[in-house]
Symmetry: C5
Subunit: 81 residues, 5 copies
């Protein structure tokens, strides 16, 4: 699972139906890579999280039918990048 920091919410009006009402976040890796993740935890910007990829991302949403490939799994209590 990757270690990433929540940067902001992603506003996306026009999306595929398979994403349903999932909350989307822009995440930033340690080297500046930006990714979009679904967020079942409700994480505020600035927090360090770890996120899971692949089919596990759909399972982690608690709803396998959400068509994501990256889902936030938890907030890291303390992290010094």
């Amino acid at each position: 699972m990757d270690i990433l920091r929540v940067r902001e919410e992603l506003v996306c009006t026009r999306r595929v139906p398979g994403l349903k009402q999932a909350s989307l976040r822009v995440l930033e890796g340690e080297r500046g890579t930006l990714l979009v993740a679904t967020d079942p935890v409700g994480v505020p910007p600035g927090k360090w999280v770890f996120a899971t990829v692949g089919t596990a991302a759909r399972h982690a949403m608690g709803d396998y039918d959400v068509h994501t490939d990256l889902t936030i799994c938890g907030i890291i209590d303390h992290w010094e990048p």
Copy 2:
């Protein structure tokens, strides 16, 4: 999910049957990487989108039998690269 910009349509006459009539787009990442994605949304060139990989890409097509590994999931409303 990756953040990418739509560059152009991909013209491909000779393809495997499993792609069916799926619309194909050439996408460009922030570092210039070029990828091919299926597009169920209908996105014009120049727009920033996010796209899902793996089995989720097939689900996102609304037809699991389309043999893609990258599908556009939505248009990002505002994006400053």
Copy 3:
């Protein structure tokens, strides 16, 4: 899906049974990375193609039991690298 150029056929006498009689090609990415793909299309060397990864690669073979993770999906009509 990745954009790659067909470099040559891969000769491989000793292989796992799960690859069956699949035709194998050495593909080269834009940055020189070399990969091996199964080819259900029959592409001559020098052509630019796009190829799918993961479980979609097995579906694209038209035979899910071929144990590949990269399959050529189509020839790109025009490509300027």
Copy 4:
């Protein structure tokens, strides 16, 4: 499977239910990349391990319903990086 070194335990109070009580470790690759893995073996910090990704990571937990994408599979007896 990737070769990684165990750096420390990951403390994560707020997590998705799908991770259950899985033990989490921060792993470091040869080039300094940091990743989070589930650990069914019980590996102390400093050890070199190899870890599996994707759906195999869930199988390796001995419980397919743990929503991980990286699981430690074994401790390497001797490793000179």
Copy 5:
């Protein structure tokens, strides 16, 4: 599928049960990356091989229940790196 060279056998006494008695090899990519793969072919060190990732790696073992994500699929007859 990736093109890799067999470097040595991997000795690993303490491993998850899901790897069973699978033979493990350390493989080296063209840019020096080291990976661990399961080997159903029996390849001696020094040989160039190609290996499959993901669920195809489990299928290629001839036993889907071996929890690997990288399996050697064949020895390349001639390879000039």
